[in-house]
């Protein structure tokens, strides 16, 4: 009969459900990370145990570094992701500003045109993209991936950023215009700094699918020098399926950078997800 129990469902039960699901969400990842540092024997004998002094080994990692170009792949992924990200943000912000600020002919049509990219997955144009890259002689270059990822990331970036920019108070730019500041300066020195929070959100949203993509690296840049980490790990594991140490180590290596990034940016990402993404 007490107010407490009436108002809220049993807190213990709530935590039980949430803890249970958190375990389900993390268990597989933990299993990989734990066992990557264990000897082959103990991986099988006692998979749930943490590595001990007796079972600890880094043999898997050594093999991965010896047998694959892990560092190169990691570098490729990093290059592709960062360069694409930079241009998605720059071009996206510029276009978002134009679409939200200036009233020019064809603005609505252009907005609609860009919106198509949110609804229609760019993968469906793969046949053409590949032919285009062949004719531009860009196959097996990181440039090919970067171009596609910029095109892929722009629509959502523009959508989120223009929503945000539309809320910037008009007085700020009007004041600048009265002082005869050029439109470029207004954009780079007033608008862009004010858009930072939204840009951070877009950055996280853009980065993840690029870093994780398998499709375009597989089709546009499968060469040994241009493989991304995701593709590299996929092929490495295909070759060494029975070498559990190597497989687990390579998976850990693929997971770790993302986990580290996530722990740094999780607050930003979640804020973005729970605010801008709702509309």
């Amino acid at each position: 009969m007490s107010t407490k129990t009436n108002r809220t469902i049993n807190a213990g039960l709530v935590h039980l459900v949430l803890v249970l699901y958190t375990v389900i969400a993390l268990f597989p990842i933990l299993m990989i990370l734990i066992n990557a540092f264990k000897s082959r024997k103990s991986i099988f004998r006692d998979p749930m145990a943490l590595p001990t002094e007796a079972t600890f080994t880094t043999i898997g990692f050594e093999k991965v570094f010896a047998k694959s170009n892990f560092v190169l792949f990691f570098g490729n992924s990093l290059t592709v992701t960062l360069v694409s990200l930079f241009f998605v943000l720059l071009f996206g912000a510029m276009m978002a500003w134009a679409l939200s600020e200036y009233d020019f002919r064809g603005r609505r049509l252009l907005t609609l045109f860009m919106a198509i990219g949110i609804m229609v997955p760019i993968r469906l144009g793969t046949v053409s993209i590949l032919e285009l890259m062949v004719s531009l002689d860009l196959v097996n270059t990181l440039t090919a991936l970067i171009l596609v990822y910029i095109a892929q990331g722009l629509p959502l970036a523009i959508f989120i950023l223009s929503e945000y920019m539309a809320q910037i108070p008009g007085e700020l730019k009007e004041a600048a215009r009265c002082d005869d500041v050029s439109e470029y300066r207004i954009f780079f020195y007033i608008i862009l700094p004010l858009t930072k929070p939204a840009i951070a959100t877009v950055a996280v949203f853009t980065m993840i699918p690029i870093w994780n993509d398998l499709w375009f690296p597989l089709i546009l840049a499968p060469g040994d020098q241009t493989k991304t980490l995701t593709l590299g790990v996929q092929q490495f594991i295909g070759q060494y399926t029975t070498d559990w140490n190597s497989v687990l180590a390579s998976l850990s290596l693929a997971v770790l950078p993302v986990l580290v990034m996530y722990l740094i940016f999780s607050r930003q990402l979640i804020r973005g997800l729970t605010s801008g993404a709702v509309k």
């Binding site: 009969m1 007490s2 107010t3 407490k4 009436n6 108002r7």
Partner: protein, 360 residues
């Protein structure tokens, strides 16, 4: 309908105690207004009464029943929220029916009750509309209707008029007053607007920093504020509070000085020469026309002419500022030395702790 009794009601949020033991009696059928600056705990107190926040100490009774651990419904309260809090996906009718349905009322009886309530509030035409299709004033009435239809023992209003424009606010204020008088339901009303408090209340509770400063009828608070806080809070423009020194005692009277210059004599109320007191006098009780009583003179710093009334802002000898409300339109030069007078009866004296000193 029932009386409401609070005894030593305490509320703590984390480390911070926001209500420090509130004692209060609300009589059956009375309209009590909680008023105070923002953060004073008035809304928290209302939510405690509602059952939306649990008590951390003390006792809360509705009628003869201790309701500390009862849910809002079991307490028999109904509440009107600041944002109206109408269910946006339900029609006006369904909004009003929601609570009744939970009470297990038959649909025939429910329909009758809702139609009846709708008639008193002129909502008949709106029953099929959704809240999104209503104006601010209409939403406000629906929110009130949703509370009335429950036929509660106690009504709670949490700043219900703060989202309306000034004209509508006056209209709704009168309507709420009329409604409460005819329903005779015990009502607690929270506001930060002292005009609302003065016009609506049978009894005002002035809260400050989680404590009750004074309880009384509106005129009680106006004429006999218990301390400087209430004195400064009730009345607009606010009462002038002037620090004075008691310089000389002469039989039954004491002489007061502000920054060295004599302002007059007041009845001696047990203070000694050398005491510091606060002299309170309302702007509307100061007049240039009078020639006797307590005299204050200062330089005119600013003048606001509203036609029916003229506000004078004077700076006294010790640099403190006072406000004077002169009837009618007055023209004066800035920088002019102005003397104003107040009748003995209109003076308030407060001791160093800010408590009112009364004639003994």
């Amino acid at each position: 309908m029932a009386a409401l009794t609070l005894r030593g009601v305490r509320k703590v949020f984390g480390e911070i105690e926001v209500l420090h033991g509130i004692d209060l009696d609300v009589d059956d059928g009375e309209l009590v207004v909680f008023v105070g600056p923002s953060g004073c705990g008035k809304s928290t107190l209302l939510r405690v009464v509602a059952g939306l926040e649990k008590l951390d100490g003390g006792e809360l009774k509705i009628g003869a029943e201790v309701v500390n651990d009862l849910s809002p419904r079991e307490r028999g309260i109904a509440m009107v929220f600041q944002s109206y809090a109408l269910y946006p996906h339900m029609s006006v009718y369904k909004n009003m029916a929601f609570g009744l349905k939970i009470d297990g009322m038959s649909s025939v009886q429910m329909e009758q009750r809702i139609r009846e309530t709708a008639r008193t509030l002129q909502l008949d035409e709106l029953l099929d509309r959704k809240p999104g299709q209503l104006s601010g004033g209409q939403r406000q009435r629906v929110a009130i209707g949703r509370a009335i239809v429950r036929d509660p023992r106690v009504f709670l209003f949490d700043e219900p008029l703060s989202n309306l424009d000034a004209a509508l606010r006056v209209k709704m204020r009168i309507e709420i007053s009329r409604l409460q008088k005819s329903l005779k339901t015990t009502t607690v009303y929270v506001t930060h607007d002292q005009v609302e408090a003065m016009t609506l209340a049978d009894k005002i509770v002035v809260l400050n920093a989680g404590k009750v400063e004074q309880v009384g009828s509106p005129m009680d608070l106006y004429h006999r504020p218990a301390n400087t806080f209430v004195a400064g809070f009730i009345g607009s423009p606010a009462m002038n509070l002037i620090s004075c020194d008691v310089t000389r005692l002469d039989g039954e009277v004491a002489e007061l000085r502000v920054g060295g210059s004599r302002v007059g004599e007041v009845p001696r109320m047990g203070f000694l020469a050398g005491d510091s007191v606060t002299l309170g006098v309302r702007p509307e009780h100061l007049s240039m026309a009078a020639t006797e009583g307590l005299a204050l003179s200062g330089t005119l710093e600013a003048l606001e002419r509203l036609g029916d009334i003229t506000y004078l802002y004077l700076s006294l000898a010790d640099g403190s500022q006072i406000t004077v409300a002169e009837q009618g339109d007055r023209v004066l030069d800035i920088g002019e030395l102005v003397s104003v007078y107040a009748a003995q009866d209109d003076l308030h004296l407060f001791d160093e702790a800010g408590q009112a000193m009364r004639d003994q």
